[in-house]
Amino acid sequence: MTQESPLIALAKSPSPQSPSAQPPSAESPPDGPSSATGVPPREPTPGRRLGLGLRGLARRPLLLAAVLYLLLIAGWTLVPWLFTGQDPLATDASLSLTEPGGAHWFGTDNLGRDIYARVVHGTRVSIVAGLLAVGLSLAVGSALGLLAGYLGGWVDQVLMRVVEVLVVIPGLLLSLAVVSILGFGTTNVAIAVGVAGVPGFARVVRAEVLRIRTSTYVRAAVTSGHRTPAILVRHVLPNASPPVLVLAALDVGGAVLSVAALSFLGFGASPPAPELGAMVAQGRDYIGTAWWLTTFPGLAIALVVLSTSRVARALERSGVSS
């Protein structure tokens, strides 16, 4: 959330004791009874979900554009060398601050480095860091929520109190504090952003587990003598996963924003490594003269966030409507 936009991150975290428990979820505020934290969507069969997706795509140009952009991003991340022949680190003083044009689509920076190549490689860094952050939030948050929800009692009390304390501290500030402990660098920034996302996942998973715990199949498993870890992994976790995965998808955009913000502030990738937030920071010195230094990396971040949130919301809806 957040955030970079702290507001996005914040909006994800419901106030701990609000009488009206209606936490707005990440980029998509609740537009029905089934927000990420609300009533869980029923799981559609894979075939139906796909059918809905394909039919939906044809009718929704914006969603189609988002999917295509994410595919492009996936390409940039997996095989960047197919998309740019230029070395993102190669400097050439004679090309310093070239305007966007044929040879350099997005222009060059003060050291003559190709901005397009740096955006491609920088997006890769941002995406990998964002996914790492969400993966960490997902893993740790799910583990906490699973234990708290299933075991209940004092375990639940203690874990949820810890989560409550984390919620109180604005996401970006929490990430900053964690970075100050871990030290700077992209991996540490990703971990710090992941830590800030843990409370959201812990709460959603716990709520899901509380619902599932009383179901007949779990009681049947308990009665037939299965051990708690086996029940958690085989019965509770798979049934809790759909809303949690939607939250994870929604979270990716916010995580990318937060990573970029921390890098912009100078706590992420160290120069000359390309990273979108750091590129915007470097371009700041030339905002009066060379707009392309900041415009393209910033646009790349914004498009990643917009595309992931649109696709995540489409996933969420297709899960609900089937």
């Binding site: 957040t2 955030q3 970079e4 936009s5 702290p6 507001l7 996005i8 991150a9 914040l10 909006a11 975290s13 419901p14 106030s15 701990p16 004791q17 609000s18 009488p19 009206s20 209606q22 936490p23 707005p24 980029e27 505020p29 609740p30 409550e164 304390v165 109180v168 501290i169 604005p170 996401g171 970006l172 500030l173 900053l176 504090a177 970075v179 100050s180 402990i181 871990l182 030290g183 924003l257 913000a261 912009f264 502030l265 100078g266 937030g277 915007v280 920071a281 371009g283 700041r284 905002i287 009066g288 707009w291 900041t294 415009t295 990396p297 910033g298 971040i301 914004a302 949130s309 649109r310």
Partner: protein, 314 residues
């Protein structure tokens, strides 16, 4: 009601104590010697540390004391509103924060006002539009507001309005014209979120039977929105706005850096950059306190907006 407030205050104090304890632990969670990390500052791993200076700093920070005594002293000091001295400047943390606060309050106040006015106006305007596709088009377009990285929107605003058109000064603080661009930058993500939440709330409220009844009796769409729907849609928007107030310090970190403004946010970025742990601890604690207080205030206002809400201590 009194009991509810009492329980909430006690609970809030507990959360703050826990946040305080967590921020105490921060210093002890630093891998290796925190004093060495502080002395190296931004220099990184390789920088040599003078052992005498390390011992001196350790004594100054009380780190040569047993951990439980450090903890008791820290909590006692915090209860009196003292957070030790900034490692970077050597000044009292309280004084450092106090000096930075006015500029940030000005910025945060302007941004929150802007968020509230523009957010509510946009949501209401969208719900007054004649056709449903038009309404959802306007609402979903505000998603853009919170997808834009604010460090980038700030720079774009500078490029266009300061360097391009020359309407506003690029940097500095104090003058009202210097407040405009930073306030917009800080407000933009919030405006997007608030518009969506309030807009969706209004859409849901306008579909309620009581609105249909009012419309059947001849009320205009505007009257239905202002008199009937707005109040019913306000609760989630209020919750969100409360969260925004709590999160404004974090937003100020980026905004104040972009516009080179002095303030709490800038102080935060500098404290992180130089591992100034006493300042970081105080900031984390204060942000937590702000969150707890605002949340309680918002919850206490709920029943005034929606009389059906009864505050009960769970």
């Amino acid at each position: 009601m009194t009991r509810y407030v009492l329980v909430r205050v006690v609970n809030g104090l507990f959360v703050l104590w826990a946040a305080l304890t967590a921020s105490f632990l921060v210093l002890h969670l630093v891998p290796g010697d925190p004093v060495a990390v502080m002395l190296r500052g931004a220099g990184g791993e390789g920088t040599a540390v003078d052992p005498a200076a390390a011992d001196e700093l350790r004594a100054e920070l009380g780190l040569d004391q047993p951990v439980y005594r450090q903890y008791l002293e820290f909590v006692g000091d915090a209860a009196r509103g003292e957070f030790g001295t900034s490692f970077r400047s050597g000044d009292e943390v309280t004084a450092v924060l106090g000096g930075a606060l006015p500029a940030t309050l000005e910025l945060a106040g302007a941004a929150l006002l802007l968020t509230l006015v523009v957010g509510v106006a946009a949501a209401v305007a969208a719900s007054l539009l004649p056709t449903a596709p038009l309404r959802s088009a306007v609402l979903s377009s505000t998603v853009v507001g919170n997808a834009l990285p604010s460090f980038w929107t700030g720079i774009i605003l500078l490029q266009v309005f300061s360097f391009g058109l020359g309407w506003f000064p690029a940097f500095g603080a104090g003058d009202l014209s210097q407040l405009v661009l930073p306030a917009i930058t800080l407000a933009l993500p919030g405006i997007g979120l608030l518009t969506q939440v309030l807009g969706r709330g209004l859409r849901a409220a306008l579909a309620e039977p009581y609105v249909r009844t009012a419309r059947a009796k001849g009320a205009s769409r505007a009257r239905a929105v202002f008199v009937h729907a707005l109040r019913n849609a306000a609760i989630p928007a209020m919750t969100l706005f409360g969260l925004m107030i709590g999160g404004i310090v974090a937003g100020a970190v980026v905004t104040e850096t972009v516009f080179a403004r002095e303030g709490v946010g800038r102080l935060t970025a500098e404290a992180i950059g130089t591992h100034d742990f006493p300042v970081i601890r105080a900031l984390v604690f204060l942000a937590g306190a702000l969150y707890v207080v605002v949340n309680l205030a918002v919850d206490l206002i709920y029943p005034r907006v929606d009389p059906r809400i009864v505050l009960r201590s769970a």
